[in-house]
Symmetry: C2
Subunit: 474 residues, 2 copies
Amino acid sequence: MANSEVAKWSNGGDLFLDLSPERGRGLRTRIENAIRDAIRSGRLPRDTVLPATRTLARDLGVSRGTVMQAYAQLTAEGWITGRRGSGTRVAADRTTQTAKRPGLAAGAVRWRFDLRPGRPDASSFPRADWMRAQRRALAAAPGDAFDYGRPEGMLALRLALADYLARARGLRVSADDVIVTTGFTQSLSLIARALHGNGVTSIAMEEPSMPLHRSVVKEAGVNLTMLRVDDAGAAVEQLAALPDVQAAILTPNHQHPTGAALSPTRRATLLDWARTSDGYVVEDDYDGEFRYDGEPLGPVQGLDPSRVIYAGTVSKTLAPGVRLGWLIVPEPIRDMVLRQRLLTDGHNGALEQLAFTELLRSGGYDRHIRKMRLDYRRRRNTLLGALATRLPELGVAGAAAGLNLLIPLGDAEAEERVLRAATAAGLGLGGMIEGRFYVNDPKPGILVGYAASPEHNFSQSVDALVDALTVSVR
Amino acid sequence: MANSEVAKWSNGGDLFLDLSPERGRGLRTRIENAIRDAIRSGRLPRDTVLPATRTLARDLGVSRGTVMQAYAQLTAEGWITGRRGSGTRVAADRTTQTAKRPGLAAGAVRWRFDLRPGRPDASSFPRADWMRAQRRALAAAPGDAFDYGRPEGMLALRLALADYLARARGLRVSADDVIVTTGFTQSLSLIARALHGNGVTSIAMEEPSMPLHRSVVKEAGVNLTMLRVDDAGAAVEQLAALPDVQAAILTPNHQHPTGAALSPTRRATLLDWARTSDGYVVEDDYDGEFRYDGEPLGPVQGLDPSRVIYAGTVSKTLAPGVRLGWLIVPEPIRDMVLRQRLLTDGHNGALEQLAFTELLRSGGYDRHIRKMRLDYRRRRNTLLGALATRLPELGVAGAAAGLNLLIPLGDAEAEERVLRAATAAGLGLGGMIEGRFYVNDPKPGILVGYAASPEHNFSQSVDALVDALTVSVR
């Protein structure tokens, strides 16, 4: 009687052999059919060495004679060949193509010059620091660190994050308020669903804003109302005239993608609205660590933690591929957020939580941000210098912070012309209309990300940008 | 004019100082207020060394004289103390409690004897193998490996997974069909939402089944219909009388938690139903790698890949804390699943994908499963032996595979008595009624997980189980 469906194969791996009763009468027939199928489907490529009859018999819990008979039959049929000394192998002429494989070239377009917005320098991810932090954390981690975990994240990480966010970002926060997530997309999805679950039917967002973020919120089942954005940030005074709106999702510290900072007056208006209407502000502090100049204001969460849901991420500070973010959530909606987390994916991975805790505690995270801030500021200055010298007639917005700047343009055709010229030159850029940042009232412009370009051709990328702008705008 | 909100602090970290205009007239006042606030709120604990006036002045972009005046004022007020040679420090008597911290003891209950079901031996997670795989993978990873990724996962991982699943689990799969997820909860949530998005309003699940899984599916907005389960698995012949049901979520290879295997006849009935009604089977193969004896049947996905959505995970083979799983999805609903992934959290982390790819390719994953299979089988045999010898009158179900077995009991009171006796002895167990596995027709029983108990007291845990059963059942 076969007692296992998985046989050890000679390459050290397991091979699934389907020996179920409907596969044929008798174990010998089933073994033959299973191996035939494996060869036909490409699971056993040509020249694969089959296990010795003794080994396969033991793994399958059958007699050696049964396996020998099966091999003999398959040899007779030409599926396998046996030569003394070199073992039994899959014959060349009976194998078909291996399973269809997606084209390896089907990845993302690679730009010769890369000034696409919204992306940090992912190649600067501190691999060695991260691995060191993992090693240290693993040495101290208890045996159950890799068991099912808590939806709010590991306590040690929440303590370290609360300390960091209070110290470096001016939040009013304790570890109780922290929910670890896999980044801003998840944070937004959890919050939108939690608010919806709490009876919120309408949420305000900024225009312009990321189309992905609008889709995430709509998918949660709420209606969207767009708030106008100007040089003083989102026009939050509009909220007073929108009685249905019970939450506002904003980027107060560096409006994405225009780069405006929400003015002190509007911050006061916003929090007054939240308090009097029992509303919530969702603060997306996606690049708050990178401010180069200008009057600092700090997150609105620090002004009233009871009305602000704060969202941060390592996507811009470390790399998007880490998939780590956090929410600071006022007590009344915390349980709803945790419920959503349990119903979507449970909790974050253990290893990344352990490593990031260690990186925060050791000061390594601060050091990396400081280094990147200097690096990005230098790049920004190079870019600003080139634009000011060679295209002084163009305006530039949002350059005081973050990883992008915006060059507003007069008309949609100009944006299209610049993007076309850039593409022709192998230069990746963002467009305000092309990127679907607007819902109602599109304003054209070029979005330039200066963080992700490889260092070795950054100045050539800036030259290519100036060329594309010169040809198309003048 | 202050040009930065973040000052380098003497401990190497950053400190946020809110110097915004509404904080007071003049920079000196704002600096004083910011430091006072930081001390009051506990962000600057007692004895923290303040930066030298020269350093802080440079970081904030103000004159050194301004900082000196601010320090002098704070010293006069007793907030900080300055002694020549030891720097300026936060004074002891003015600091308040640091931010409220959650009790460290508030974690999960720790059992003296742990036979709770559904959990693998998380302490056996192969830390060294995993770290080695990470190191190797990182050495070969391109610079953009940590950038935003594709929702279906890295191509290299999908190729390696397709090979593994075809070889070791008998699936009919190519890399195109694979979607990497963070585990079964996410897989189920994505599938339920994708099916709902495709117009599915009613889904069948097994009774008994995990209450969490039922909640995940209901949260997606679909109605649930429960299928009865007997010794031949779920009664899929019921589907023919349920015209609204368009998908069935099953554990065909080892029904959870009864342990029944779906019979060949019922497999055929199930796939006939799916083909004739244009329905989908969601196959939760949560512990398929661990089969110890009994007739092997293999996943139903191998019988008809066009009608089966297959879900696997490393939660039982490596550890739940890794957060890694996969879906094999037929082409017609693949885009909907990917859309849901984009709208919930984007994609998996880079490092775990790189590491797992390497572990699959190197054969390390196969080796680990083989090792754990032997280990778990040994534990199961110990447990079965003890039950057969000391409590021969009790039945045992579901022991041929997986990490749990079921001891059916005659009445709900017996289950309650056993669980009460177990708790009194410090023994963690599962109960069929207590665990809310049933919706309509509860059947009592004790669920025993034999994988997660620490090795050093496994046999004592088995003794404690026998005691709890003896006292309560006889």
